[in-house]
């Protein structure tokens, strides 16, 4: 069987869905190919946080645009994506971290972000129940927030269908077909061929494998991150709490249902696609959460799971053209794909159709040299 489209997107995670949607809005016929089911990869395993508090200029600009877009996403997609502007509170327990926050805030403020460094007692007001032991302050941005990754992704996918495009599930791309230096189609495991003018590699932590099919090196590696969710309880506080200590954690209360959902970054990192849950996490994460907010001790854990961050060499996205004409990439989100998706999807759609995005993405281009790492990963 052979089908054709203007754009074929590999991967029905939030990046593929959002980029496909904004391409479809430009009048292009978009087909999203998904090996398993939508949100089967990193998107369906993320905890839904959205923030503009970063240290890299372009990331801040893209994320401020993303936050603006999340505000209007329910109307755009006709789907309640559970956007809630509860803010992000990053906690500092030593002078070095405080200085890193102050440096980042100075950059964020140049773009007009509503962010400030606040004292421990103000942190307690924003997050009632927070144990201030050892706390010296926090970086707080009230315009950061949260949304539901599933609803956002399905909203975009349904939007693509409404605009004349489609989603093909159970479609594992095995081969990228070129004519000269130009991509012409892909072939899946069943032998079906999908012809296209443009191909977007949005395969998340498997984007390196898709790249290899086209002879393009995409430097992403999978890192396992574990998460848990608790039962729903009455509202305790609004912001995402981020504790960057080596045995820290970050968690947020879901705005609609009242579940607490959170995770931590293992030290050292755990490379690979393994998404097994561990005993270490199911005991360590609760210890860290209760240490930060003691009154959560009686709240029950429903479930733990794991997912992959698709890490780029410097923690920033890998976007844009590749050496193969017609082949584009958008991956390497390094744990921030969900929050990036609206703005980066729109900007990549501009990049692919006009050759230039309204916020130039050069510093995220696959062709860049990898230097300075993001300080607020």
């Amino acid at each position: 069987m052979k089908r054709s489209a203007d754009v074929v997107v590999i991967g029905a995670g939030v990046i593929g869905a959002a980029t496909g949607y904004y391409l479809a809005k430009k009048g292009l016929k978009v087909l999203v190919l998904e090996r398993d089911f939508p949100c089967a990869g990193s998107t369906g395993r993320c905890i839904g946080g959205i923030r503009a508090q970063f240290s890299h200029d372009l990331t801040i600009r893209v994320m401020m645009e993303s936050v603006r877009m999340f505000r209007g996403l329910a109307d755009e997609l006709g789907e309640d994506v559970e956007w809630f502007q509860g803010g992000y509170l990053f906690l500092a327990f030593d002078e070095k971290r405080k200085q890193a926050f102050l440096d980042a805030i100075a950059i964020q403020k140049t773009y007009g972000l509503d962010v400030s460094y606040i004292a421990p007692d103000e942190c307690e007001k924003i997050a009632p129940g927070l144990d201030p032991t050892g706390l010296i302050g926090g970086a707080y941005c009230p315009t950061d927030g949260q949304a539901n990754p599933f609803k956002v992704t399905y909203g975009y996918l349904e939007g693509i269908k409404r605009l004349g495009g489609g989603l093909v599930v159970g479609c594992e791309v095995k081969q990228v077909n070129k004519k000269g230096d130009r991509v012409i189609s892909v072939t899946d495991a069943k032998g079906d061929e999908y012809a296209c003018d443009m191909l977007l590699n949005a395969a998340g932590s498997w984007a390196d494998e898709v790249g290899t099919m086209a002879g393009v090196k995409v430097p992403v590696t999978a890192d396992r991150h574990e998460s848990l969710v608790t039962e729903a309880v009455e509202r305790v506080f609004d912001p995402m709490l981020v504790d960057y200590r080596s045995d820290g954690c970050y968690f947020v209360q879901h705005s609609g249902t009242g579940h607490f959902i959170g995770c931590y970054t293992p030290v050292p990192l755990v490379p690979g696609h393994n998404v097994d849950a561990t005993d270490e996490f199911i005991t360590e994460m609760p210890r860290r959460m209760v240490r930060l907010v003691p009154k959560l001790a009686g709240v029950k854990v429903l479930r733990q799971w794991a997912g992959s961050y698709e890490m780029s060499p410097d923690g920033n996205p890998l976007c844009g053209e590749t050496p193969v004409r017609g082949l584009y990439v958008s991956t390497g989100m390094s744990g921030h794909g969900f929050m990036f998706a609206p703005a980066l999807g729109k900007l990549m759609a501009e990049q692919m159709t006009a050759g230039r995005a309204s916020i130039p993405l050069d510093e995220f281009f696959l062709s860049r040299s990898f230097g300075k790492a993001e300080a607020m990963k």
Binding site: F150, E231, S246, D247, P286, R287, G298, K300, L302
Partner: protein
């Protein structure tokens, strides 16, 4: 895909419903006496309050696996972790798509299987006294 019944849902309610005599009936009783359509007003997933009609609607949208339906409707993500709903939904998928329930992949069971308090679980944590902020690797 809005799910109006989801807000204000309390685990306590779900826990009460699953205890006592009803429990014996609902999960273990053979389902063969039910004819297609007879479940229309029935709640398929009690933890997340999802009706049969909602499940059928999502299957008809093209979500043809337990994993896919789970991610749209949260069926299997509640207190009971799918003990009650997954078999019912497998059957609905079979009815709607012809994919036999026996060939459908069950979502992976996730610990702790039964809800346990953060304080209890955390008491088994490592309790390292080193709380220094030395990590530059930390990510969110």
């Amino acid at each position: 895909m809005t799910n109006s019944g989801r807000k204000n849902r309390q685990g306590r309610q779900a826990r009460q419903v699953r205890t006592g005599a009803k429990r014996k009936q609902s999960v273990t009783r053979p389902l063969d006496h039910l004819t297609p359509g007879s479940l229309s007003s029935v709640t398929v997933c009690r933890c997340e309050e999802v009706s049969e009609a909602e499940v059928r609607r999502v299957i008809r949208m093209g979500y043809h696996s337990l994993e896919a339906v789970k991610r749209v409707l949260r069926t299997g993500m509640g207190h009971c972790q799918g003990r009650g709903c997954l078999k019912l939904i497998a059957r609905l998928i079979q009815e709607e798509t012809g994919i036999p329930a026996s060939e459908q992949k069950m979502p992976r069971p996730r610990p702790p299987l039964k809800p346990l308090a953060l304080g209890l679980l955390g008491s088994f944590g490592s309790d390292r006294s080193d709380t220094s902020d030395k990590s530059d690797e930390a990510c969110t």
